[in-house]
Symmetry: C2
Subunit: 349 residues, 2 copies
Amino acid sequence: MTVTLADVAARAQVSPATVSRVLNGNYPVAAATRERVLRAVDELDYVLNGPASALAAATSDLVGILVNDIADPFFGIMAGAIQGEIGGPGGRAGGERLAVVCNTGGSPERELTYLTLLQRQRAAAVVLTGGAVEDAPHAAAVAAKLRKLADAGTRVVLCGRPPAPDTDAVALTFDNRGGARALTAHLLGLGHRRLGYIAGPVERTTTRHRLEGHRAALAAAGVEEDPRWTVYGRYDRRSGYEATLELLRRDPSLTAIVAANDSVALGACAALRESGLRIPEDVSVAGFDDLPFSIDAVPSLTTVRLPLAEAGARAGRVAMGREEPPPGGIASVRGELMVRGSTGVPRVS
Amino acid sequence: MTVTLADVAARAQVSPATVSRVLNGNYPVAAATRERVLRAVDELDYVLNGPASALAAATSDLVGILVNDIADPFFGIMAGAIQGEIGGPGGRAGGERLAVVCNTGGSPERELTYLTLLQRQRAAAVVLTGGAVEDAPHAAAVAAKLRKLADAGTRVVLCGRPPAPDTDAVALTFDNRGGARALTAHLLGLGHRRLGYIAGPVERTTTRHRLEGHRAALAAAGVEEDPRWTVYGRYDRRSGYEATLELLRRDPSLTAIVAANDSVALGACAALRESGLRIPEDVSVAGFDDLPFSIDAVPSLTTVRLPLAEAGARAGRVAMGREEPPPGGIASVRGELMVRGSTGVPRVS
DNA sequence: GCCGGTGTAGCAAGCGCTTTCTACAAGGTG
DNA sequence: CACCTTGTAGAAAGCGCTTGCTACACCGGC
């Protein structure tokens, strides 16, 4: 029924071994023979059996990419960039690799299960993107898995994620703290003193780091923070909308709202607008990430640009062993403050 | 080094066959034996060798999802929904499957290559999302591949994509034509007579269908179209921005702009605003898809809501054989007109 | 003209799992 | 009490490929 290596070998009048070697190109084969084999492959429309090949060679050409939310461009952009570098179709690399984008939905169990699935497939590499969950047992479980993967020869890279202790995984970490600090410093520089903060899910590292940066900026400016000014939520617009209404209820005198990311900021804008407040005259709004739509917000969003595509590409190259990992296996990738229309001097109260 | 089935068998004092049967659960095994095997698996921290298993069983648990642009939420939302249904971790289905999201970037060659790669992996199912490329030879090549995949036992489902002729692939098609027609009819109903249209890439089916719907509405209303009113571009905001400037240059008297999708519409809004035109007082703008950010545009975007998540979920279920394919293998999924703030009556000229 | 490279190709032993077929006990039946 | 189900487990034959080792020409050099 299906064409196998042996069929091709028979047709080309060579041994299966020779066909395999022609296909893999890692062994000298006379030009004439290769020619003949290639023709046979073509004529029979032969397609290599991936599992068989992976079994025999003890490696596969699968590369796993774990994302928290595939519907979020934040991850989509990184995943696309990674995929572009791992030599999938169109990539420069010779061997064609299949990128496997796995959507964990932010769930620790699914993250672990996907890691196991990838281990089972003997993935060539795994890239984990986005913030990690801070639960200690889970972190330990992930670290253990990563170690096992590494032992089995799978290259592990973290992209936009803090380093995993006790692991030799390469980490390209976003400087969320620094970015957040610069952002809030900008707001403080404009004269704001009462700033609401809409955080992401409590247990996410990203959430904590950004919040810490925010608070560091406040502390540096000697601004005391009211605990009512912080609300936790999810990384989506709905959350931003609801949190903003909550903040407004808690303290209507806020002059600025800093959001965990751009989507949240968009939701915040909607809530403010519906509450009859102008941006930035009445309330300034700031986001984080600088996703493509942020510049189209009205007014356009002040935010911190994260080089998602660049970081993803780099992670992809490191995962493929085409680029040296950073010294110490850890690199911090900085964001850039983008001052736009959504922030301004506070209203005089 | 690595733990194999045989190791587990030895430890549990049973034959490898029994271990395999316990793990696959498709053969009666005495409770006590199963218990013992499971314990051994746990103690040895055994992980099945995917390729070996796939080779022996002649099937794999990989499911491919082809998308045109993984960074675009349009595809992200569908991919997420599909993945949620194919029984990956967290899904209800028993057997855990690995979703493989492949980013074709809209390139026909990569589409074909990915299809081959999936064929090579003996994927359990393949879901192709988004508009197809209309180039005849390419369409034929894809159809041939899909046939071959189906022959090899891979279930093929098209989601948001027109049916593939000479193929028994199940197709859940979006009614782009109908949606576009309703949208333009809405604009005509408001009194617009000079409507610019920003189309997507020429060769995409989605582009053609939406444009046809638009023109059908114009024709039905007896409005004659000026060829200068249509500009082709890509499905991103930049394209919308540039195309709008072009349209404005060609005919400043346009009172409405219909965009190929929401991202394009956002770009159009930016261009209009920069040109000093108010939305919708001076120019109405309409999008397509109703992505999450569309409601946050200012003014919020009139658009056609496509049930991306629902369609994706259904496609996922069909791909897993958990839902009957629609009669004839083809279903048309309708969009819903969402009238919002970006469209209004035209200015009196 | 014999010998040791050098360049190619084949042989055959797995890789780790699934599954058919067979084997054996235990229990029910005439 | 012999015989046949029924339930459960093992033996072994692959699945299709890779690769270490071996084999054979053919070449040039002494």
